[in-house]
């Protein structure tokens, strides 16, 4: 948990952390009223401010570089410093070229990515909700074993499983099809664990009992009582799985041969490697612009859903 709660800590830092202001909208409403130092609102710390500032620089500079570089032509990229604009402003031209290069294959890759995210991340979230709810609210034999397996699975990086998965899928004849990317994406041990913890806290057992006494069946209790209460956690898991699927590189790299099924990550990589081939068309400008376009939806998702995602994590992590 600790690793994932760190962005939240940064975002919900007391106003003392100056840098937190840069993403002003990151403050939840309740933080807007400034209070003087209380145990819950420690006083300013120079060290923390500096550290947060450094971390902000560390995360923001690459983004700034990306935005600035996306405005340059291939020539401008080589001629100018990375952190300032070149004399030629070619952002719009770059964007239109990105969408039209090689008969608009970028659009196809974008749609593929949306498909993988929609089915993969959406399905993973649904499974995590179902599983997390069941594990949190029902007792059944083998629950501890499930717990051990889930915790163990969190520790295994997906990359390590990619090759065995490939061999298995190859036997089943699923490689080189979209399913090869979607099916492994459906499993998110971390999402399951998160929903489990979240459901334990967010759904009072009394409420479920009340629903049962009122005559609601288990399915109705789940959809009408539990689901709304789980909404913040759902958004958190959805964001996690979306980011993971959106950025997935290694799994599709191994599974897919047909460029028509590439997600954006693989497609951009193939554009980038054009510069490494004899007679290849060097299009670093399009790789950069394409990368920018690729992260825009993710940034939008974060900005739009951050309210849920903060409260979701916080609710799951605090014991009352």
């Amino acid at each position: 948990m600790s690793s994932t709660s760190s962005p939240v800590t940064t975002a919900s830092q007391p106003p003392s952390a100056q840098s937190g202001q840069s993403g002003g909208s990151k403050n939840t409403p309740r933080l807007r009223t400034r209070r003087k130092h209380t145990p819950g609102r420690p006083k300013r710390s120079v060290l923390l401010t500096v550290l947060t500032g450094l971390i902000m620089l560390y995360t923001v500079v690459p983004l700034v570089w990306l935005v600035i570089s996306a405005t340059k032509t291939q020539e401008g990229l080589a001629n100018s410093s990375g952190l300032w604009f070149s004399h030629d402003f070619a952002l719009w031209d770059n964007i239109s070229k990105t969408f039209t290069y090689h008969d608009g294959i970028f659009v196809r890759w974008l749609l593929n990515t949306l498909l993988y995210v929609g089915l993969g991340a959406g399905g993973a979230t649904l499974l995590a909700i179902l599983g997390g709810y069941a594990l949190a609210k029902f007792n059944f034999p083998g629950k501890r074993a499930v717990f051990a397996v889930v915790i163990g699975a969190v520790a295994v990086p997906g990359t390590a499983l990619a090759v065995p998965t490939f061999l298995m899928f190859s036997k089943m004849g699923l490689t080189d099809t979209p399913w090869a990317v979607i099916i492994p994406s459906l499993v998110s041990p971390f999402g399951l664990y998160l929903m489990w913890v979240f459901a334990t806290e967010a759904i009072p057992t009394e409420l479920m009992e009340a629903a049962r006494i009122d005559g609601a069946g288990e399915i109705r209790t789940f959809f009408q009582v539990a689901m709304p209460l789980l909404a913040p956690g759902t958004v958190t898991v959805l964001l996690f799985t979306t980011v993971a699927t959106w950025n997935n590189y290694f799994l599709p790299l191994i599974m897919l041969k047909d460029p028509n099924w590439y997600p954006l990550t693989l497609g951009l990589d193939s554009w980038n490697s054009q510069a490494q081939t004899i007679g290849g068309d060097v299009i670093f400008n399009l790789v950069i612009t394409g990368s920018l376009l690729t992260i825009v939806p993710l940034i939008a998702a974060f900005l739009l859903l951050q309210k849920y995602w903060q409260s979701g994590l916080a609710a799951g992590s605090v014991k009352e």
Binding site: A78, N79, F250, A275, I278, G279, V282
Partner: protein
Amino acid sequence: MRRTSGRLLRGLTLLSVLALGATACGGSDDDSSGQKAVSATDIQAALKKGGTVNVWAWEPTLKTVAADFQKKYPKVKINLVSERSGDKHYTALSNAISAGKGVPDVAQVEYFALSQYSLTKGLSDLAPYGADKLAAKYTPGPWNAVSEGDKVYGLPMDSGPMAMFYNKKVFDKYKIAVPTTWDEYVDAARKLHKADPKVYIANDAGDAGFTTSMLWQAGSRPYKVDGTKVTVNFEDAGAKKYTDTWQKLIDEKLVSPINGWTDDWYKGLGDGTIATLTTGAWMPANFVSGVPNASGDWRAAPMPQWTKGDKASAENGGSSLALPALGKNKELAYAFVEYANSGDGVQTRIKQGAFPATKAELQSTEFQNTKFDYFGGQEANKIFAESAANVASDWSYLPFQQYANSIFNDTVGKAYISGTKLAAGLKSWQDASIKYGNEQGFTVSK
């Protein structure tokens, strides 16, 4: 992530190559000697009948060639997949071959990797289709790479007779003569770096292709292949010439530690901090597309020599189109390969900046008189064509060169970053290659 995936990929390639080797060895012995000759009429009939040819090739000029071919033979559909190149391409190809399905009908295979596939019977012999009669069409380097005895495993698509590209602006600025021998090259490196510490004569952070090409020019023949009997030996006189000279450049830090083909490299070629580039004659197309800002700064010159007045040269890079044995529609596939690499496709590809492997094109006045705007109007093809004619054709690569190249940086690469000497690095590359080869069922010795 990048690094891990690279390693994993390498592992995967290895696995599949192993599997490939195993199936090939276990396979029946009836090789192409029993294959029936395919007449031109058979091929014409197949073209009339039509079908689909799956082509895996990243060579950019093939796009137009495929379109032209389809126009000429409307019943044939060329399905060109060009998104993968280099290691990723070979991984996918080896995987498909070992899985026995999804194998393309035509695959681009670089010269250095050909024998890896041909020796494991992964490629069809093209001689029965009439490819053996095309021998005289090609320059010696590429033809030697695609043929093995009377068997032909691919048709040369392009070639890379080496030349030295140099940034004339930089040389003029510091009034340094363009080197014609490697000794002069070392001198020029010293002068350039002294005049401006940001300027290096070349970039070299360890590149297997470059090193083997340099050995080739120096007269070293480290690899000898006779069936499954292989020798690897970097201790001949030619290798010594190379290591002695190159060691000076490394010791005095006169080469910039930038890897080729990276954005840093393109930048260095553009801003004058990399003053020369000794590489294949295919480079101009990459200059034009990757280093547009230095247009007019660069010129081509013959490769520096080991002995003044010599004209020795070598090949660097270049690839062929081959027919994987498990591919389908052989007649159509061969017809396409022939069209692209021997027929009308050659001219189409030259017009788009490819460097041919065919003698007729290399010697044509039109080709030789082509003025390169990028090189300030220089007729650079004259230099390249002469280089192509001077390539010694007795070079061979290892039947597991792709693997050998993948461990280059773990062995020879050490010479660039630590106190290890280049010669010692080559020795450990030799040992590792011998060990690997023996594990693969070859009989490899020093």
